[in-house]
Amino acid sequence: MTGHSVGFILLLPFFAAIAMPMLGSWRRSWCQPMALSSVGLMGLSALFASHGAVTQGPVQYSVGGWPPPVGIVLVFDGLTSLLAVALSFVSLACLFFGGPVLPKDLDGKVVLYYTLVLLLISALAGVTLAGDLFNLFVFFEVAALCAYALVGLAGGRGLMAAFRYLLLGTIGASFYLLGVGYFYAATGTLNMADFLARLPDVLHSKAVLTGLIFIFLGLAIKAAMVPFHGWLPDAYSHAPEAVVPLLASLVTKVSLYAMTRIMFWVLGAATLPFELPILFLLGLGGASAAVVGAFLALTQQDLRRMFAYGGISHVGLIVIGITVGNQTGFAGGIFYMVNDAVMQATLFFIAAAIWHRCKARDLSQLGNLWAQMPWTSAALIVTALSMVGIPPTGGFFGKWYMVLGALEATNYVAVAAILSSTLLTLAYFVRIIEGMFGDKHSEPPVTQLTPEAPTEMRVSMGILAASILVLGLFSDQIVGLILRSAAPPGLR
């Protein structure tokens, strides 16, 4: 039964996506309840499967009954369970947020929006479940195609942003596929567990080394790590408001998940000494991403671009945590990944709510926002505390474990990068909050008589901001869970 619930995680939103155009042409108002219920059921089956995975160990689901390594398998272990639950929770909040208000901006493309979003969620769940390298590629591409289409959905400047995103994303996917080809040529298998078992025989093969470089290059483009982040700010600042929270919180995180999975469960970077120190090199990349991203965020004037660059710097932070090379840092990195999914969604909710209420997106137009939108401002302050890393929030504990891990590994570059990125994050949030309270800036033009954003927006912002605090309060338990059931084999 647990096995089938693993299949449901993937199939529920997929079938809902296929049914959506038919349903939409019949009763358009049923689209959102349908999407919400399918993602809700997906979350329930993810919780059910997580319970099984945590109590009885990893679940393998052979699709069509063909046993691995020949057949396709879905693997549901501790790491997947964390990601799958976070994925369904955040996407539920995003669908609820978009709700009745935002798809109206897409004039008549509501049905298309729900179809694409459900396909995207299903494909992202597929990436977290995939047990072999090639299916990971296919799910990635399905998710990416939906993301390109969603970015361009509203037309306007989003079209060109979507086109650039598509070009870079396809290059990344081609690099990844090329790396998979090299891996296959070296070992003759694509199944992750089987690959790890055969790796010691070909450890010094140049084909594995080349494949590894291409795979991480491809994933770095998909995850927007710093030299390859060019597509992200444009795509996120011109995409429709209902789309950005979902993309920002999930797509880059899932790429980071794939990176982690390949690093530790396919290449066994924790135990096998490589001639090329991949953990160290990726950690350097992450450190530069954390600092450069936060610095670029500080220089932005547009709210959404600032948040987008903040997301880039957080991708770097997560990479630092994962690549530090001990369990403490790894647990911190994974915990921060879950936190960041929630924080990014909340930040773009806030930007969308401000845009919806007063058509303001420039920092200089946020004067006296506190009086006009108290709920939104409160959510913004909670998220800002977590992005900077102030104690009761989840962000603090993630950074705390990452710094502890880096100190344990005597990796002072990582510590310095985390601390300086924290200071820069503080600086750019001070810029926003100073504008919100002070009267230095011009007030946003009031276009509606209602004092706040619509109820759906407030509720989903409130839930996500509260869950940031909940993640902080239960951080001990969650990090303990990661250490018990999601830590990679062999990592000390």
Binding site: F137, V138, V142, G155
Partner: protein
């Protein structure tokens, strides 16, 4: 180094196609030409993948006779072919989405040249 490349003509062809495609994507400013470059990159990767399954003196991977023992050495490896079939489907859908975006861009800005579009963005 050079002899190495000459003794592996298929691999050399893959490298040339791949770099050629990347160069087109970076240097040309016409959106359709960029897409042509992108498709060339994808195709070169498929070519590489198919090559990993090739063996000299082998035949198509279809069983010649039912029953009896199967001799794997006379068949080409079918798995890369299956992978490439799937990857081609992915590439075709990517091309479809990208052409759709190109049409939308042309309708809105009346041009396919990147510089002209950027001028008209404001």
């Amino acid at each position: 180094m050079f002899e190495n490349l000459l003794s592996r003509p298929n691999f050399t062809a893959f490298i040339i196609l791949f770099i050629f495609g990347l160069t087109i994507m970076v240097t040309h400013h016409n959106l359709i030409k960029k897409l042509i470059g992108m498709y060339l990159v994808q195709t070169s990767v498929f070519f590489f993948l198919v090559n990993t399954g090739a063996k000299s003196g082998s035949t198509v991977p279809i069983l010649l006779s039912a029953g009896g023992s199967i001799e794997p050495s006379i068949y080409a490896n079918p798995l890369p072919h299956a992978l490439v079939l799937t990857a081609i489907v992915v590439a075709v859908s990517t091309l479809g989405v990208s052409l759709g975006l190109t049409i939308a861009i042309y309708r809105r800005y009346g041009s396919l040249e990147e510089e002209e579009i950027i001028e008209r963005l404001e």
